[in-house]
């Protein structure tokens, strides 16, 4: 009996969330949704047990991070999400890409999944959060996806992902080098140089790059 009542309440709550997602236009709608959910004891109780809720919870965390990272005008994780079903489909695009990378499927399938990440509102922040949350070889996978994005010309998103990675795993040489390389591709010498200075005991090759960057910076 209690179970049936809870099922009914759960359905009602999902309907309400769907309505709010369908009607959301800007940040204030998402903030209102967060407030609404924080006051729902059922949501708080079920957010780790219900698949759709756990994905929604993850999106809300991503959204908060995106607010700190993305420019005001950028498309956020809730872009083109009008229901919990849309949300799950978007979540799975990132998850399935991460799993393909982690499990070393042939490159053609990794490329196919990387293409999914070029959809509106899939930021490097979102990719980073889901890769870290859902996979085992986290650092390796973050690097692999970032390299894939870079290869596909998605430099801004690759940078966002690597910034996320470098915050999460500070001081990792490979991640710092990769982000520095992205900045260099965008001729942002100062950003690249600053990243390279974070590498402890850099190899001669890296020291050489730093010297050259320093010269470029000094020569304006």
């Amino acid at each position: 009996m209690r179970q049936r009542q809870q099922d009914q309440e759960l359905s009602q709550l999902k309907e309400e969330i769907n309505l709010r997602l369908a009607g959301s236009r800007d940040s204030s709608d998402i903030e209102e949704l967060m407030l609404f959910l924080s006051e729902s004891s059922l949501y708080q109780e079920m957010k780790r047990q219900d698949g759709q809720f756990s994905m929604l919870d993850s999106f809300l965390n991503i959204w908060l991070r995106e607010k700190q990272r993305l420019p005001e005008s950028a498309e956020d994780i809730f872009c083109q999400v009008s229901s919990l079903k849309d949300l799950a489909a978007k979540y799975r695009k990132i998850l399935f890409c991460a799993l393909r990378v982690e499990n070393g499927v042939p490159q053609v399938y990794v490329d196919q999944a990387l293409e999914w990440l070029e959809n509106p509102g899939i930021s490097g922040v979102a990719i980073g959060e889901i890769v870290v949350c859902e996979t085992s070889k986290k650092e390796e996978n973050l690097m692999h996806v970032a390299q894939g994005l870079k290869r596909r010309g998605q430099i801004p998103n690759a940078i966002l992902l690597l910034q996320y990675a470098n915050e999460r795993y500070p001081g990792r040489e490979k991640l710092l080098l990769e982000e520095a390389d992205c900045w260099m591709q965008g001729r942002q010498w100062n950003r690249a140089y600053k990243l390279l200075t974070q590498i402890e005991n850099p190899m001669a090759e890296i020291r050489d790059i730093m010297t050259r960057l320093q010269q470029v910076l000094e020569n304006g």
């Binding site: 179970q3 049936r4 099922d7 780790r48 047990q49 219900d50 698949g51 759709q52 756990s54 799950a88 489909a89 799975r92 998850l95 399935f96 799993l99 499990n103 499927v105 042939p106 399938y109 085992s136």
Partner: protein
């Protein structure tokens, strides 16, 4: 006429995105020499048992792998290994990925000690997860396996007459196999071979079917022995 050299994957589905991902991994599996594979998808089945019966009837394959749409087989040599287990002993009727040697009296596998492997189990064990034994060598005979992947080499009808939903159809099938005298095995999985991207299940009707299970198979709770 049963085709002794054929595997058939049977998948009940209601989500194209998950199904396509599942199929992508199936397409990457190594197929043992002389064998072929088949795939049957049942869309919007009225129940898991009904869908699986439909799939079972539609193929002549000896070996069937009943798979959830959100279960991805990542071990390329899964079929070779499966064949190895079935060939070992013709009394082995069923193979699963994770199972329990002693099904708890309440019929809920997850309330007992389990063995096998699942995605990121090692990580979870390191974090203190209890009740699951990583089976990295040797097979283990079990009483029940989880339904996200059930492989069989014999056909026994799924009990769609009493399990008309999405719960306990797997435990029921295990009981049917054991009643028929077959062994159920969880093989060693030193590396994780199957990812179950499961959405936490809806518990609607869970207790209802649990009660049906215990009534139909009194041996679970000990009252039938």
């Amino acid at each position: 006429m049963v085709d002794e050299n054929k595997f058939c994957f049977v998948i009940c589905t209601n989500d194209e995105q998950q199904l396509q991902e599942c199929i992508m991994y199936l397409s990457l599996l190594h197929v043992p020499e002389g064998y072929q594979t088949d795939l049957i998808t049942i869309r919007d089945a009225p129940s898991m048992a009904a869908g699986y019966n439909e799939g079972m009837a539609a193929t002549d394959a000896k070996y069937k792998v009943y798979l959830h749409q959100d279960a991805f087989i990542v071990d390329q040599f899964f079929l070779d290994k499966l064949l190895g287990v079935f060939r070992e002993d013709e009394r082995i009727g069923m193979v699963g990925v994770i199972g329990t040697e002693h099904l708890p009296e309440d019929g809920v596998m997850w309330h007992g000690k389990r063995c096998g492997n699942f995605y990121r189990l090692e990580e979870m064990l390191e974090m203190g997860l209890e009740g699951v034994e990583l089976l990295s060598c040797g097979h283990r005979e079990v009483e029940a396996v989880d339904g996200f992947l059930i492989a069989t080499q014999y056909d026994i009808p799924w009990r769609e007459d009493i399990f008309q939903g999405w719960d306990f159809y797997d435990v029921s099938q295990c009981m049917e196999f054991r009643r028929a005298g077959y062994r159920i095995i969880v093989p060693e999985q030193s590396e994780n071979g199957v990812i179950h991207c499961c959405n936490p299940p809806s518990l609607q009707h869970y207790d209802e079917y649990r009660e049906i299970l215990l009534k139909e198979y009194p041996e679970i709770s000990g009252s039938g022995t």
